[in-house]
Amino acid sequence: DAGVTQSPTHLIKTRGQHVTLRCSPISGHKSVSWYQQVLGQGPQFIFQYYEKEERGRGNFPDRFSARQFPNYSSELNVNALLLGDSALYLCASTVQGSTEAFFGQGTRLTVV
């Protein structure tokens, strides 16, 4: 079985641009969470989606948005990129009610 897959693995964007990151959960997992990991820090919770509905949101500005599709894959969108948005963005999938989150390899975003 494939694990959590994220694309792209790396990308470079310019300040002010928009970016879309993608995540495919493990088959059978209906919940996807997004985390931002700035270099030297622990991951910070951004969003959780379950059955296409937002179930939780962290302390991030409205420039960050996400959605989940009928096949349970998810997109994270960030508008008006700032240098401080440079980070590793991690996606995790979970079975409903489970305590175990399975993480993808992440997308390394660099904003220049």
Binding site: G42, P43, A92, S98, T99, A101, F102
Partner: protein, 114 residues
């Protein structure tokens, strides 16, 4: 709201020596506790977790952690480390009714040298 404090940002250790990584948390509600490991250029992998029951939990690769409610701690230990244990280790908590949402500490970088 919860918070997680990992008291050491980096821990150098010699191969076959013991290691302890310290984690303290604060929360006004019941929480579950986790240790995740991150190898270079990879995502996070669950190492072990405490949900309830025995306060000592063990992983298949020799790590163990003990939940101490009175000290609000969940320290991670391994009696003898290998070079392959070089990685970053994150302590995390989640509210018991908030599955899928983790609050992480800042991480502890373990560097094992021969």
């Amino acid at each position: 709201a919860q918070s997680v404090t990992q008291l050491d940002s980096q821990v150098p250790v010699f191969e076959e020596a013991p290691v302890e990584l310290r984690c303290n948390y604060s929360s006004s509600v019941s929480v579950y506790l986790f240790w995740y490991v991150q190898y270079p250029n990879q995502g996070l992998q669950l190492l072990l977790k405490y949900l309830s029951g025995s306060t000592l939990v063990k992983s298949i690769n020799g790590f163990e952690a003990e939940f101490n409610k009175s000290q609000t701690s969940f320290h991670l230990r391994k009696p003898s480390v290998h070079i392959s244990d070089t990685a970053e280790y994150f302590c995390a908590v989640s509210e018991t009714d908030s599955w899928g949402k983790l609050q992480f500490g800042a991480g502890t970088q373990v560097v094992v040298t021969p």
